[in-house]
């Protein structure tokens, strides 16, 4: 079983399945792809994230050895290496996915709009929705909280009326079943540090102070602005954008003590892509140190600087709205100046946190959580893939912040561990 259908979990699932073993892939959301599905382009090559991701999601979706359990969570774990008994709970989608053809008519006809989590609140979705047009599986779910049929006792029902194959099933119940598996790969990924906890940066109250995933959605061709950079408050194209690194990271006092590892690179990418889209705009990046240790990474950051992104060495102290702009008070310690920038848009590179529910799942799996809240590996140097529990392996950002190549590598490594285990103990 692989828990988590992001890029790391998918890699693990594919590697194991390609070797002839059955895989159950459990994903909390209605479709797989994880955080990567929200990204615009990837550093340092600027490949379109969706373009390199989609072949993977499709392959997972079609793989005869992979059983997809989306919209599902692990309920209970028993047993042991070679014979785990895992109870999986599938939330009711209120749509019969066997019948549903994924035509999308229900979403078109639904009248009720709510802010979309997938769009990080800057775009909307319907009360019946699939995460994206490329979703795998491309089947919708009904969000009961916002569906008028559920909230007003049977009124509306537009989706059911228009569905050509009668797939809407308001009576659907949650399902719980048990899977018997030999090994488990845990790849539950990350969330971002909530802006509410950054009160000196406005605590999430200012519409034009956004987090880095929101900016990814603005950059994304499939995002709410179709890839045009328009700020949330008034839809204007921002002429000056300030990127603030280490927003919550490296802050043992009030945030998290660790470095979130990927922000230096994605900020350089975001600033560069902004420059590509808004030629006459100015991007500023406030940083403390630049950590660009990967292959081609330093070159990429240098490219961002050469193409006109102005790097300012100092941490931002305060952000507040002023005359339709967002005032940023920072320092440039290299010149010894305090600086203020009246920006049109501010992007906070908020810290990477283990995804919500990480500690609950760890408890069910009886694996350890480290000081920072991520899954703890059996040994930080020589056993980075194993959890402390036999037969349970770690992959992706749930074990610690990491970028795509690292997450993929760890997914493959976890698969290799599972295959080695099976080769010695279980015949295919």
């Amino acid at each position: 079983m692989v828990i988590g259908g992001g890029i790391s979990g998918m890699q693990a699932a594919l590697d194991i399945a390609d070797s002839g073993y059955e895989v159950v892939l459990v994903e909390r959301l209605p479709s797989i792809g994880g955080r990567m599905a929200q990204l615009s382009e990837t550093f340092p090559t600027l490949d379109c994230a969706q373009c390199i991701l989609t072949p993977r999601t499709v392959e997972v979706g079609h793989h005869e050895k992979i059983k997809l359990a989306t919209y599902s969570e692990v309920e209970e774990v028993g047993g042991h290496l070679g014979d785990f008994r895992v109870k999986v709970r599938r939330k009711p989608a209120y749509v019969d996915w066997e019948r549903c053809t994924g035509c999308g008519l229900c979403q078109e006809k639904c009248l009720w709009q709510v802010p979309s989590d997938f769009e990080r609140g800057i775009g909307k979705r319907k009360a019946i929705y699939a995460l994206s047009p490329q979703a795998v599986p491309n089947k919708p779910v009904i969000d009961r909280e916002h569906c008028v049929y559920f909230q007003k006792e049977g009124k509306c029902g537009a989706c059911a009326k228009f569905c050509p194959v009668e797939a809407i099933d308001f009576q659907q119940k949650e399902e719980i079943w048990e899977e018997q598996v030999g090994a488990i790969v845990v790849a539950t990924g990350y969330d971002l540090y909530p802006m509410e906890r950054l009160s000196e940066y406005g605590g999430g109250h200012y519409p034009d102070v956004i987090d880095s995933l929101q900016f990814e959605r603005l950059l994304s061709a499939s995002g709410p602005t179709a890839g045009e950079i328009r700020r949330p408050s008034d839809g204007a194209v921002p002429k000056e954008v300030v990127f603030v690194q280490c927003a919550g990271s490296r802050d043992p006092e009030r945030g998290v003590a660790y470095c979130s590892q990927i922000c230096c690179m994605y900020t350089a990418k975001q600033a560069l892509l902004y420059k590509h889209k808004v030629h006459h705009g100015q991007a500023y990046v406030f940083y403390i140190d630049i950590r660009a240790g990967g292959k081609g990474y330093e070159e990429f950051v240098q490219r961002a600087m050469e193409e006109g992104v102005l790097y300012l060495r100092g941490k931002v102290s305060k952000i507040f709205p002023q005359n339709g702009k967002v005032m940023v008070w920072g320092a440039d310690t290299l010149s010894g100046k305090r600086v203020e920038i009246a920006a049109d848009l501010v992007v906070l590179a908020t810290a990477i946190l283990p995804s919500q529910g990480t500690s609950d799942l760890a408890e069910k799996l009886r694996i350890k959580i480290g000081e920072s809240g991520f899954y703890e590996e059996a040994h930080p140097q020589v056993r980075p893939i194993e959890s402390g529990a036999p037969g349970i392996y770690l992959a992706g950002a749930g074990q610690g912040p990491k970028d795509i190549p690292e997450a993929v590598a760890q997914g493959s490594a976890a698969a290799a561990k599972v295959l080695a285990l099976f080769a010695s103990e279980v015949p295919p």
């Binding site: 000196e200 280490c246 490296r250 802050d251 043992p252 006092e253 009030r254 945030g255 403390i288 060495r313 100092g314 941490k315 931002v316 102290s317 305060k318 008070w329 920072g330 320092a331 440039d332 310690t333 010894g336 100046k337 305090r338 600086v339």
Partner: protein, 134 residues
């Protein structure tokens, strides 16, 4: 001119005294600059607050001659935002104390305008005396 650094400065008496009086670990600061970015009084300072602290980290007593230490209003903005919890207002106080304890008063109360003194609240005069008199 090059500043010669050696153990005499970096582990010298000066650093030790500042750490003692302030109760702070001077090297805990990673020079992120957030204190300077938010310091309300920095506009009048000759050095940014983080630069004064940097001089102390290097063991350089010229930190004591900076106007900055007298312009710190102990408003605690830097402390409340410092990622490392470094109590810079205490370090500034330690630097002021090192000067005051050696050189005496920085303020002559009798030289202040009478109108000002008659209007200023008691706590301004008391706080000012605490900060500027030895």
């Amino acid at each position: 001119m090059r500043v010669r650094l050696s153990i005499r400065e970096t582990r010298g008496e000066f650093v030790k005294r500042v750490e003692e009086i302030s109760g702070q670990e001077i090297l805990a600061c990673n020079q992120c600059g957030k204190c300077s970015a938010g310091c309300p009084a920095a506009m009048a300072m000759d050095l940014l607050p983080s630069q004064v602290l940097r001089l102390v980290q290097l063991g350089l007593e010229e930190a004591l001659t900076s106007e900055t230490i007298w312009l710190c209003a102990s408003c605690l903005t830097c402390l409340s935002r410092c990622p490392k919890g470094v109590d810079l207002p205490r370090i500034m106080e330690a630097l002021r104390q090192l000067v005051l304890r050696k050189e005496g008063d920085r303020l002559e109360l009798s030289a202040l305008p009478a109108d000002f003194l008659s209007e200023a609240p008691q706590l301004a005069i008391i706080a000012g005396s605490r900060k500027y008199l030895s």
